[in-house]
Amino acid sequence: MIKRPISRRGLIKTAGVVGAGLAAPHLFIRSANAYFNEPKGGTVTLGFNVPQSGPYADEGADELRAYELAVEHLNGGGDGGMLNTFSSKALKGNGILGKKVEFVTGDTQTKSDAARASAKSMIEKDGAIMITGGSSSGVAVAVQSLCQEAGVIFMAGLTHSNDTTGKDKKANGFRHFFNGYMSAAALAPVLKNAYGTDRKAYHLTADYTWGWTQQESIAAATEAMGWETVNNVLTPLAATDFSAYITPVLQSDADVLVLNHYGGNMVNSLTNAVQFGLRDRMVNGKNFEIIVPLYSRLMAKGAGENVKGIFGSTNWHWSLEDEGSVAFVQSFGKKYGFPPSQAAHTCYVQTLLYADAVERGGSFNPCSVVEALEGFEFDGLGNGPTLYRAEDHQCFKDVLVVKGKENPTSEFDLLEIVEVTPAAQVTYPPDHPMFAGGDLGTCNPGA
């Protein structure tokens, strides 16, 4: 080691340097654009950040397909899909503001760290002006706050936690997908009719923001109609075998099992539950029931026979008969040979909504996009009339309550729609306790 005592002169020098640093705060300047990553030249780059590995990889793959389809339609390729049914006619099929749409992809790995790294590289290296995607609320929350800091728009993909547009909402982030509260509000009346008001529920919950808020929502809604919540057990997201969590259910006096799981987690936990004979059980003189509050066709496919007769809710389903859904299913089916999932739908719609907002606002500037999307009412994108609420950047639209089909006619026809819950019934005030504690802040253009 160097043995050199600190001299007085050295100390004064150091103090001087530090002082100069304090006195001149913004020594560096960023490039003099009006906003960050302003697209120059004839193209604009969007960043699609989806899980390509981990428990939500199936959803991620389907999201990517939808994004590619959306880009094709925006650039005027294919049959135009929902561009033809969308109530706003700003998009002409010549890219966005005349710029050809290009995209880069990244793998979130369903991990906050990895998702942020991948989003950062898309923003910094590839100059992405908008980041979208994700199939986990943990990731959505993390990437949303990154986009807020960096000054780009985040169009959330599949994220169902109340927090995304609740306590963790951000001005630069928007969510089309529905949330845990809406699932609970839509499911509760259906469950009441089917299973009565005297039930004891046991919850298995994925241990992160989505699981927590969905469990809270479902428990509150079912308790309001007389059910009792016996227990809530948190399970790690990375778990693949749920036998150890199912056994205690058998020993409790619960007669309903609520699986707050999604994707690969739900496929495994439901399969385990059925293997343990839960569905053939009689408890308290009632037939034991299983509920999966958030459902998707991909999960139903993964779980196979086991989903028959199980209730859940979903954002969208390909069997819907409205004009927008038919057009989307048709062009997706033509390109890939099978119908899209709800994850694909929400991602496709989000891309269109972003492009439309840029077109209407006349600029890629995030603040202009935010202004164009806030309070925007639209139709023709598969969910009926929809509102992008200005207070929390959440879409309000009808929610579907679905059930696993008893006699599926094809490998895609796995869910049947039990009820379409109108938007009014699932709407809540922006300061609802389950969503309180956050603040949008102001839009950040990054420059």
Binding site: L22, H26, D107, A117, T209
Partner: protein, 403 residues
């Protein structure tokens, strides 16, 4: 100079030059060209190169010098990260206190883990550290959710009770991490012809710290303390018989490398204020082992090179998707194009682990001394040596832990 011998001074000078010029060296291709895909000179990746370089240098002080293989170093990095974010939430957005506290917390935690784990050596030591790291991961992931925010990751919010500084800026956003007013995101871009170079303030802070960390590591390697550590590696029994107790030395090395890991963790949150539990997982601990071995265990520069290679694969190769491949091979006839893409695709994009695995195997089998040995062999090809020296140099270079 600076108490270094001539060779080390040269090495240090090279490292200084590379780190300072990295934004230029890493962006060799013009932005518009197809090869721009392989440019790595953007702030996030450059910061990662340097931060993981520091992590690997620290790991090498333990593994390279004493031979104790720890499989739990990611835990210290994670502890450092969480401490850093909490510092920013509670005290100030200036990164200096956050980094200092990260190092202190990681040091204390490594003292505890090291005190227990170092009662055993060899495989038992590795298993103990692995167990500690997995325990910390599980704690961070679920039990300690109020402190770590579990799977979602600990982040800043708009209503943090920051003592020095504001909870939110005048325009209602979270203040940026800064170094005495210089925001870590800030920097400037230099456009020259078709090339674009980004000089980022955060990167240069990390680079400066890397240089200090590297210098300290050279001094440790060359100090009497370093020689003691090498003695532990070569024969602990003999050391005991001569009346020296190796335990204080190994524990000191363990704590120092834990503090390096904490420093890396603190820098990570200084650049991007979010701490996720995944960075404590055993895969993250395994990664630093790979970095060190790939670069060259026990060498000074090896760990930095190894971390660079792995981070490059992780961030650049993983982003080559099938569309890009189709673009590249578009000149081939259709059938052949699909065939070539089908062959190459498993090795890039999602399959980058596969490529990395193959590279790692090749290095371990043919270059047990890592990339550094590869470099030495290439250098050896161009150097003319008197024939009688051959045996001597071969014997000296093989088991040496020094260079």
């Amino acid at each position: 100079m600076l108490g270094l011998n001539k060779r080390d001074t040269l090495l240090f000078a090279i490292v200084i030059a590379i780190t300072l010029l990295a934004p230029i060296i890493l962006n060799p291709f013009p932005v518009a060209s197809d090869l721009a895909q392989f440019n790595a000179g953007y702030p996030d990746l450059m910061q990662r190169f340097v931060i993981f370089g520091i992590f690997a240098i620290g790991f090498n002080i333990l593994f390279g010098l004493t031979g104790y293989l720890s499989f739990g170093h990611a835990a210290f990095l994670g502890v450092g990260s969480y401490a850093g974010v909490w510092m920013m939430k509670l005290l100030t957005m200036n990164v200096v206190p956050a980094i200092i506290v990260s190092v202190i917390f990681a040091g204390l935690f490594s003292l505890l883990v090291g005190f227990i784990s170092l009662r055993r050596s060899g495989i038992y030591f590795s298993i103990l550290t692995l167990a500690f790291a997995q325990m910390s991961f599980s704690l961070a992931y679920s039990v300690l959710t109020p402190i770590t925010n579990g799977e979602t990751g600990l982040q800043l919010s708009l209503n943090d009770p920051r003592i020095l500084g504001v909870s939110q800026t005048a325009d209602g956003s979270i203040p940026m991490t800064n170094f005495f007013g210089i925001a870590m995101r800030d920097g400037f871009e230099l456009s020259m012809g078709g090339w674009l170079f980004t000089f980022n303030a955060g990167y240069y802070l990390c680079a400066a710290i890397l240089l200090i960390a590297f210098y300290v590591s050279i001094r440790i390697f060359r100090s009497p303390f370093g020689v003691m550590l090498k003695a532990v590696k070569s024969n602990q029994q003999r050391m005991l018989y001569t009346g020296l107790n190796p335990r204080p030395y190994t524990l000191a090395a363990f704590v120092i490398s834990g503090m390096y890991a904490g420093l890396a963790g603190g820098l990570m949150v200084a650049m991007d204020p979010l701490a996720g539990a995944e960075r404590m997982q055993w895969t993250a601990s395994g990664e630093v082992v790979l970095m060190t071995i790939l670069g060259g265990t026990g060498t000074l520069i090896g760990p930095i090179l190894g971390s660079g290679v792995i981070k490059y694969f992780e961030n650049i190769f993983s982003k080559i998707n099938d569309n890009i491949l189709h673009d590249w091979f578009a000149f081939l006839p259709d059938g052949l194009e699909d065939f070539v893409v089908a062959i190459v695709y498993p090795f890039v994009g999602k399959g980058w682990h596969l490529t990395l695995g193959i590279v790692f195997m090749l290095v371990v089998i043919f270059l047990p001394g890592g990339i550094v040995e590869g470099g030495q062999r290439i250098a050896g090809l161009f150097k003319r040596k008197p024939p009688e020296d051959k045996n001597k140099t071969a014997a000296a270079s093989a088991p040496s832990a020094a260079e």
